[in-house]
Amino acid sequence: MGDVLNFRDSAPASETPVALAAFLGASNATAVRIEPGEDARALLAHLDRLSLVEVTFPAFGDGRGYSAARILREAGYTGELRASGDVLVDQLLAMRRVGFDTLVPNAPLDPAIVETTLSRFADVYQKAVDGRTPIWAKRYEEA
């Protein structure tokens, strides 16, 4: 496994994720992999036995993984949610916002750029699954 960018408090899971079809077809696995065309909701009945869901990004332009991640977090999944593949530092903020907490990019990311990228935007416009208060809510907190 390449360099893991880890935003969790604990170490990343070491199990090798199994393919979704294999996982659903009677498996004891606790780690599963979702490809872009696969339905994250197929996992909803199994969330409590999963410690790792890996969502692949074979090409960064294919944004289906962002929906998959957010769906899982919306359903209450608290385990490790890993983005792997064609991930650049420029996608990092969006990935964190939709719930990814570990990343395994094809090419390692410069830690300095990771740091600046994540701290660049002080606020966010939308409510997502990262717990950040959206601007529209902040406007009324202060009022």
Partner: protein, 543 residues
């Protein structure tokens, strides 16, 4: 109009710094072109036929004099002294340097402007009616909803890598002045039992497979509109086609699923999303609405206009629309001088329009999707003085909605996607029909030219449409008739084999002559075409 608060300003400022860093990494070779391309596209920077092109967002087509002046400054300082207003109410600059791009974005941010998401497979500029806020026929001003959606769509983490671009339009009248039905999502604000809500249309668009958006939901209230569009977008992001660029818009998904199945999937997602607290409180839309309140109109002022100057009277009758407020008028500045380049304005003209807005229009302008500029708050008493200044600057062609008010994409003169040039064709047509008497005789005639199938010139929605194609390395032009982007939306039909540049102008003369011979009382070209059908036109053209 909306004014940024500290949060909005911080967002655009941070975006400038993000892009500055991305451009620096590209120039230093730390990013390849393949890696940089989607990043620069999300800031509206294209590598085009001659140079980098920058598309600046004009949210729902509204801007202030100060912002317009900055657009003129950018044209002068960083470009070649002109800009092009587009069919999505934006402006684009054709000769930008990458090394200047971050500075340009910083200049824009200083006047609350940006180029965020004006390209790329993400949610684009939210467009609206150029007469919003000042037309008697609107249910409410649609722009607060557009602003709410603008903020919601900016840097949306789930929807930044969609199958393809996504365009949203919001109107609030039965008359559709924004081609709403030809957008990926179109919202028509209506009132039911005293409550304002949106009819939601999904799956419109032009391009290779033009479609008119079907209604997906008949009423969504303002406290649920964000959850609802999130649901529409999520279904699209998950299931829109990614195998073929020409089949990747949401219109294809809606068409292939059928609108009922698409609706079912959206409703299911919507039911889930409503539980997530995604919708801002109504107080937020109310806050935005305060920026769009009626200005302090003067009352008891002249409600008539002195028509004694005949040239002024011609412009008055053609380019000035009725305002909801007595004593006021809505003036359209045509950027379609005969023989000129449709939608282009020089930096001097842009700065003049900024001045005129400040003096004559309560400091506000609108960009229309027909590539013209509207001054929405002109006192009738000021119209003559305004016209004189416009006329001196070549900004007073009296041709709003006439045959020389042509929508034309930049075409092969500027665009690497194009198959044929569109601007020279527009110029030839305008020259052929230059006589204002002839134009008035023809009446309302919306002529739209695209240089390729991507249809940025909206040719499918033209009463007369022209599509440029590449016929064995030579430019060729197909003629379409009977399209409309208004509430009577229809898609133009091809007449038959295409023409060369001279042939297409002749063909247009042929069909307009037929119209003049055959029309009934009160019929526009479009109406006569719809009544007679294609056959007589085809016969007249091809014999």
């Amino acid at each position: 109009m909306y004014l940024y608060d500290k949060y909005d300003q911080a967002m655009v400022d941070a975006r400038v710094e993000e892009f500055r860093d991305q451009a620096r990494r590209r120039l230093a070779g730390e990013l390849t072109e393949d890696q940089f391309k989607p990043l620069r596209l999300m800031n509206g920077l294209y590598l085009q036929l001659h140079a980098y092109m920058l598309r600046v967002a004009v949210p729902y087509g509204t801007l202030s004099g100060r912002q317009m002046r900055m657009l003129g400054h950018i044209a002068h300082k960083y470009d070649k002294d002109y800009g092009h207003f587009t069919t999505r109410q934006n402006i684009q600059y054709n000769w930008i340097k990458l090394e200047d791009a971050a500075d340009i974005l910083a200049d824009l941010a200083s006047v609350e402007m940006h180029a965020i998401q004006t390209s790329g497979n993400c949610i684009r500029n939210i467009s609206s009616d150029q007469y919003a806020g000042v037309s008697a026929d609107e249910v409410t001003d649609p722009r607060p909803w557009a602003e709410l959606l603008r903020q919601w769509s900016s840097f949306h983490p789930e929807f930044s890598y969609l199958p393809r671009k996504f365009k949203i339009a919001v109107i609030a009248s039965q008359e559709d002045r924004a081609a709403m039905r030809l957008h990926d999502i179109g919202l028509e604000l209506v009132k039911r039992d005293g409550v304002v809500g949106a009819r939601v249309f999904v799956g419109g668009g032009m391009g290779r497979t033009p479609m008119i958006a079907p209604e997906i939901r008949d009423f969504v209230t303002e406290d649920e509109i964000i959850s609802y569009v999130e649901a529409c977008l999520r279904v699209y992001n998950r299931y829109g086609r990614r195998d073929n660029k020409y089949k990747a818009r949401v219109k294809i998904l809606v068409h292939e699923l059928g609108k009922d199945e698409y609706r079912r999937q959206v409703e299911e997602e919507f039911a889930h999303m409503k539980t997530l607290g995604l919708d801002p409180p109504v107080a937020e839309l109310d806050r935005i609405r305060t920026y769009f309140a009626d200005p302090a109109y003067e009352t008891g002022i002249a409600d008539t206009v002195d028509r004694s100057d005949p040239d002024f009277a011609v412009w008055l009758d053609q380019n000035v629309a009725a305002h909801k407020q007595p004593g006021y008028a809505i003036a359209t500045i045509s950027l379609k001088p005969v023989g000129g380049i449709p939608g282009d304005a020089s930096s001097d003209q842009i700065k003049l329009m900024a001045d005129l807005a400040e003096r004559y229009s309560l400091d506000e302008l609108r960009v229309t999707h027909a590539q013209n500029i509207v001054l929405p708050y002109v006192k009738k008493a000021d119209l003559y003085a305004l016209w004189q200044e416009l006329d001196a600057a070549g900004l007073a062609p009296a041709n709003l909605d006439l045959i020389t008010d042509i929508i034309a994409c930049p075409g092969l003169d500027y665009c690497s996607l194009a198959n044929a040039r569109s601007i020279p064709v527009a110029q030839k047509i305008a020259n052929r029909f230059a006589d204002i008497g002839r134009q008035q005789e023809l009446g309302e005639l919306k002529l739209k030219i695209s240089g390729c199938i991507n249809a940025c010139g909206h040719h499918h929605a033209g009463h007369i449409g022209i599509l440029g194609v590449d016929r064995k390395g030579t430019e060729n032009y197909q003629l379409l008739l009977g399209g409309s982007g208004a509430e009577d939306a229809s898609l133009g039909q091809i007449t038959g084999p295409g023409f060369d540049e001279n042939g297409i102008v002749d063909a247009i003369e042929t069909v307009t002559n037929l119209y003049l011979r055959e029309r009934s009382e009160g019929e526009r070209f479009l109406d006569t075409y719809r009544r007679l059908g294609m056959a007589p036109f085809k016969e007249a053209i091809y014999g």
